[in-house]
Symmetry: C2
Subunit: 340 residues, 2 copies
């Protein structure tokens, strides 16, 4: 099969690789209908993270089950499935509490990479969810989005306790931030402030439910949020970037007693205890428990209530993965879908 | 009147000071029935904090209203009241959400110090709560405890979402930690693990509702908590110290998806973003909104459901404040009540 491997910063190649196969009775092998490049893939692409090169890439996936191990009971070959980027048993106390991405037995759901034609998923029963049938092709981008960016934006909104009567601010206008806007809207938030300085992303944020746009950042951004909220700050703030600046902006834009949901993987973020203490905010985040939300997200997509696939503003064949990374790195695309 | 003033580390004096008087129409002046030394007073006593010396000390109080300003409507002279250490208007959106210690107009409730015979409380209507009548003398220590340490332990338990079915661990065996145990018990926690290595404090923790005692600290303490909770960690952990070690112990003792409530004023605490992210815990804390809990706490004390005054294991006349500080500094006493 063909698969994407990164050999170093900026060096993305599509290669012939061995087909994955069932290794454990709890595995499934999936033929991908679509996969994509994640904002977090850019950390290594830009040399900010240095994994052990070369690295098979990708952790977002949906497609048709090709084969399952003997212990798999909830999905069968021929079914279309969406899965989360962490494999989970979905039975331990952590999973049962809705934190499958913190499962006692969690592991990568895509050990061989999801930017490929085929992939092996461990702990298939606890990790992937079948759709009600074979999806119309136009639903595939949205189902793919559910695998990570929608699920992650959703977790940010849940962690920030977005809901009726709440004013929500979203820091970050990447795919996760934009889908955080969508999640806040679906969760019933009264007012949603998207922080963005790019007109195309502002437009998508409005389409997804943003009621206000704030273009300022840093101190000025915080002041704007305060101005818009009677001096108090937002009830709920979603941090969807992972930089120290974004985290500070999120915490400082939140009213005392309010909630910050953070899902950007932190890079060089240090939080000062005394600042946190007097900020009086609730802080919660981490890798999103996508598996927990998948049944509901699939339903919303299947019923065409939401269209999160809109974040894929560039679709390319898998063979053009290098161009996909470049387009995202240069911010020419919000998120690139790859057709295997 | 007589009042306690700290002139430098270890230098506590009781002096003749001007009687406080009504300065603003929202003020009240209270004749103290009891006051006490707080664990946080020891930070400056030990020279770890350096305020502008000399400093009038104390922020825990209960007593009889002597005089009120013209705008005060909820309490009147002759009533016995308990108040919180932050003055609050109790009307802004932050107060209405139960975060009076984050009030938009918050200020110190004891600008002249509460370790004195008399004190002025600003924003009296939003800060103090009258008891149903004049308390029996034996209730006074418990009412005094409600002013800070009980309210703070209560907030830690609420912030950590202690409740039915939950296993709660408490880091810190000072008065706040011990009353955090009491709060967890009152909130219905199933199992309460007190972390303490002092037999007198262990005994009080058990009296307040602890079901288990863990004497280990650091890595070993975390392992013990994991052992006691099926490898998962506690659902709810109360951090009642404020040191980096205590905060780490609290976060690492919490299961993924669980809650840390932190109320120890942080000293040199830095939280690493990536550790926080993968810990998957909820983190919430800050100065306790004691005013929010006072009506309920007063009721529990008045009905003799709880006896938080038990944390005062030494009672001294105000004139012996220096000895009170020394006893707490040397851990000869958990908490010292001062009789003005």
């Amino acid at each position: 099969m063909r698969g994407v491997v990164m050999y170093g910063p900026g060096d993305v190649r599509v290669e012939e690789r061995d087909d994955p196969r069932i290794e454990l009775p709890t595995d499934a092998v999936i033929r991908l209908a679509a996969t994509c490049v994640c904002g977090s893939d850019l950390w290594s692409y830009r040399g900010i993270e240095s994994p052990q090169w070369p690295v098979p890439m990708g952790h977002e996936y949906c497609g048709v089950v090709e084969q399952v191990g003997k212990a798999v009971t909830t999905v069968r070959p021929g079914q279309f499935v969406v899965g989360s980027f962490f494999a989970s048993d979905n039975t331990c106390e952590i999973c049962q509490a809705g934190y499958q991405s913190g499962c006692l037995h969690r592991e990568s759901a895509c050990p061989g990479g999801a930017q490929a034609q085929l992939m092996r998923v461990p702990l298939a029963d606890g990790t992937v969810v079948a759709t009600p049938g074979m999806p119309e092709p136009d639903l595939i981008p949205s189902l793919l989005a559910a695998s990570d960016v929608l699920g992650t934006g959703w977790f940010a909104a849940v962690a920030a306790e977005a809901g009726p009567g709440k004013t929500v601010a979203v820091v970050g206008d990447g795919a996760v931030g934009l889908l955080g806007v969508m999640a806040a809207k679906q969760l019933g938030a009264e007012r949603i402030i998207a922080m963005s300085r790019h007109s195309d992303r502002q437009a998508l944020a409005r389409e997804f439910g943003a009621t206000d746009i704030v273009t300022e950042r840093g101190d000025e951004g915080v002041e704007r949020i305060k101005d818009l909220t009677g001096g108090y700050g937002a009830h709920s703030v979603l941090e969807c970037v992972g930089t120290p600046e974004a985290m500070q902006q999120a915490i400082r834009s939140t009213r005392r007693g309010g909630h910050v949901g953070y899902v950007g993987v932190p890079h060089d973020v240090q939080l000062d205890g005394i600042d946190m203490f007097f900020s009086h905010v609730h802080l919660h985040g981490g890798p999103a428990p996508v598996r927990s939300y998948l049944p509901h997200l699939i339903e919303l997509i299947w019923n065409r209530t939401i269209n999160p696939g809109r974040v894929f503003d560039l679709h390319l064949p898998l063979e053009q993965a290098a161009e996909a990374y470049q387009a995202m790195d240069q911010r020419r695309a919000i998120k690139v879908l790859l057709r295997p």
